[in-house]
């Protein structure tokens, strides 16, 4: 046996001895990976499951059918009927009459009457006024109208009131339940699609509260953020990456931009409060201030993403353009920027998505106020989706639990749409070189 063969054999043996261990390590590592992905997915499903199961109920609302007689004597006791009277009329009395008419064989005391009225939402009177304003000929006539039920009735209809509890532990009395059973038997109790949720602003009453005010506020705020941060961020990225000389000053700027990206967002809120509201005197609670504050927050993200997108454009493209006599600006705008665009846009949209989900800095500039009206411009008081979620989650009424989840769902849909757009843009404009 000669020596080299022996050596080769021994090497083989050593390699073989370690082989099982190496394979086991590999398998183990893959299992770790799978386990972590499974855990992640699991949490994701739990989160979505919980949100969707809660939110589902918020998209339905309970309505009660009432035969409302638009009684002249109640509406216009002094015989005058004009626009002022339409606004000031006692619609509550009409509702009480109509409700009492449903149960003619019962004589009710004051407390019972109040309990009966509580079946309807406090907003039902507005519905009557709107119906009358839309159809003036209803005056003096009787019409069957579907009116929103109160939030306790709504919860009951959705099976969230436990009848087996003692009367004192429930939100509805035995008598109210009896009335509701009769209404249900008469086909006067129905669950319908909750349009209010998408058309109304905020309210103290869960059944009247809607997301539209917050959605409009979010859109206006994001619009301001987009209009400010996209041009400023892109111009900064292009200038720093393509035109600025490399010296101590640009180094300092770069370090500061990187630091700004890591600053907690509430600090930007404080800055916005001090500078934009107290110094410049912009309107408190307005999408304008919110948008400017979010611009400060998103700018570093957009600049950093933009610079790395520009950096990833191969220098040979720049050389090619410069080599045939393109000026620096032509090189950047004709060749470098189009190639960097998908990356820059992705960064911008991800920054925007972050701004959409941000609540802390907006609390500082007053966008946490209770605002019922839907904002019509960037200078009117508004709130935004995440802050609305925070406000509703903080409300004691049970009906807000499902609305909180529904609002989260709306926010998630917005985020998914934005991220989907980012992916689409990247795929659409991506070019190979």
């Amino acid at each position: 046996m000669n020596k080299p063969n022996d050596r080769i054999r021994r090497t083989h043996e050593k390699v073989k001895a370690g082989l099982a261990r190496r394979r086991a390590a590999e398998v183990r590592f893959r299992l770790y990976g799978l386990a972590s992905i499974a855990a992640g997915l699991c949490f994701l499903f739990i989160m979505f499951g919980s949100i969707i199961s809660h939110a589902g109920a918020a998209f339905q609302q309970t309505f009660i059918a009432l035969d409302v007689r638009f009684d002249e004597e109640v509406l216009a006791p002094d015989g005058r009927w004009d626009d002022d009277a339409l606004l000031a009329a006692d619609y509550g009395a009409l509702l009480k009459q109509s409700l009492a008419a449903l149960f003619p064989d019962e004589t009710l005391d004051r407390q019972q009457k109040r309990a009966l009225s509580a079946l309807l939402s406090t907003g039902a009177g507005y519905e009557l006024r709107q119906a009358l304003a839309a159809e003036p000929e209803l005056f003096g006539k009787t019409r069957r109208l579907w009116l929103p039920a109160g939030d306790d009735v709504d919860l009951y209809a959705k099976g969230q009131v436990d009848r087996s509890l003692e009367e004192g532990d429930r939100r509805l009395t035995d008598q109210q339940l009896a009335w509701l059973d009769k209404l249900l038997a008469d086909g006067r109790l129905e669950k319908r699609f909750n349009r209010t949720f998408f058309t109304a602003g905020d309210s103290r009453e869960p059944e009247l509260a809607g997301i539209r005010g917050a959605m409009t506020g979010s859109m206006l705020t994001l619009l301001v953020t987009l209009l400010l941060s996209l041009p400023i961020g892109m111009a900064t990225a292009v200038y720093l990456e393509e035109f600025a000389p490399r010296n101590r000053w640009t180094d300092i700027i770069e370090v500061n931009i990187n630091n700004l990206a890591a600053v907690p967002s509430i600090v930007f809120g404080l800055l916005g409060l001090a500078v934009f509201i107290n110094f410049f005197g912009l309107t408190r609670s307005s999408p304008l201030v919110g948008g400017v504050v979010l611009t400060l927050m998103t700018l570093p993200v957009i600049i950093i993403a933009g610079r790395s997108a520009l950096k990833s454009v191969p220098p040979s493209i720049r050389e090619a353009a410069l080599g045939i006599g393109a000026s620096q600006m032509q090189t950047v705008f004709h060749h470098v920027l189009p190639l960097a665009m998908p990356g820059m846009l992705t960064g911008a949209i991800i920054g925007m998505a972050r701004a959409l989900g941000e609540s802390a800095p907006l609390l500082m500039v007053g966008m946490v106020a209770f605002i019922v009206d839907i904002p019509g411009s960037v200078s009117q008081p508004a709130t935004v989706l995440p802050v609305q979620i925070y406000l509703w989650a903080d409300s004691p009424e049970r009906g807000f639990v499902e609305r909180t989840s529904a609002a989260i769902l709306v926010l998630l849909v917005f985020l998914i749409v934005m991220n989907g757009t980012a992916v689409y843009l990247r795929k659409r404009f991506e070019r190979r070189w």
Binding site: S316, I317, E319, A320, G323, I324, G325, H334, L339
Partner: protein, 294 residues
């Protein structure tokens, strides 16, 4: 193995190691360099360089190079890696401006005008002195757009028809027209490496330069593509001044009329290509072309 300024007397074995079948050399057996050997002046000089020094930050990359490049000639710049030949080439159309910390001193005159003058605008200069790079770098656009870009930004074509004419002529001159005439709107990056390089040459000649600088244009190409480019260089010689950096001595011998040998940032020897390759006058040149290093 070797150091500049080594005493001559300690190198007798190197003399013995030389191929005995080689023609007797008239090279001075010294590896010391004091001044460039050979004729740096050209008869009808288009580019004149005098005492050019280039620094990258603190690093002195090129030492006191003087060289003329004449009309209608191909000059090959050869030398081992890192000897400054590419750096020198990039000085000629100020492509070094893009490199941070690069500083050029001395005079480089193109058609009698100092290109490092304060008043010099690099845009017309680079249109006048075009460049082809080591790696084919077509724009990620259509073949047509690749060639049309230069004429368009310089406003060379008055009409679309004229532009199309320029594109066709340039592609024909680059020997690419027959291969791509049916796919002008296809992306330039979809061509083969050799075709891409010819596309880059077409793009360069589309702006009617006087000088074409080529920085190892064939180093990424196979022998067949290389042969095509070399043939192209030979044809282009009639109309353009060409300076080509190459690592292949065969290529330098095939395509050039004059050759300049660079070593460690110094221009060692300049001469007719035939003379440089058959009868180098400097020991360093001889060492290099006989394959003793590099």
């Amino acid at each position: 193995m070797f150091r500049c300024g080594h005493p001559v007397v300690t190198q007798p074995e190197s003399v013995r190691m030389r191929n005995p079948e080689k023609q007797p050399s008239t090279a001075a057996f010294s590896r010391e360099h004091t001044a460039t050997v050979g004729e740096v002046h050209a008869k009808r000089a288009r580019i004149q360089c005098r005492s050019v020094d280039v620094y990258y930050g603190d690093k002195h990359a090129i030492h006191d190079v003087g060289l003329d490049i004449g009309h209608d000639e191909v000059i090959a710049l050869i030398g081992p890696s890192g000897c400054g030949k590419s750096t020198f080439l990039r000085c000629l159309n100020r492509m070094n401006d893009t490199i941070v910390g690069c500083r050029v001193t001395g005079d480089i005159l193109v058609d009698g005008q100092n290109i490092y003058d304060e008043s010099m605008d690099v845009v017309p200069l680079r249109a006048q002195v075009g460049m082809v790079f080591q790696k084919p770098n077509p724009f990620p656009k259509s073949i047509f757009e690749n060639v049309a870009y230069g004429p368009r930004i310089h406003g060379l074509a008055g009409s679309k028809l004229e532009l199309e004419e320029i594109v066709e002529t340039s592609l024909r001159r680059a020997g690419l027209w027959d291969e791509v005439k049916d796919q002008l709107l296809h992306p330039g990056t979809g061509l083969s490496g050799g075709q891409q390089q010819r596309l880059c040459i077409a793009r360069t000649i589309a702006v009617n330069p006087e000088v074409i600088l080529m920085d190892e244009p064939c180093s990424a190409l196979d022998p067949i593509a290389t042969a095509k480019i070399e043939q192209l260089i030979d044809e282009l010689r009639e109309d353009y001044t060409i300076a080509i950096v190459t690592h292949s001595m065969q290529q330098a011998a095939r395509v050039s009329q004059r050759t300049a040998y660079f070593h460690l940032g110094r221009l060692i020897e300049v001469g007719d290509t035939a003379q440089i390759f058959t009868n180098p006058r400097h020991q360093l040149t001889e060492d290099y072309i006989t394959g003793r290093f590099g």
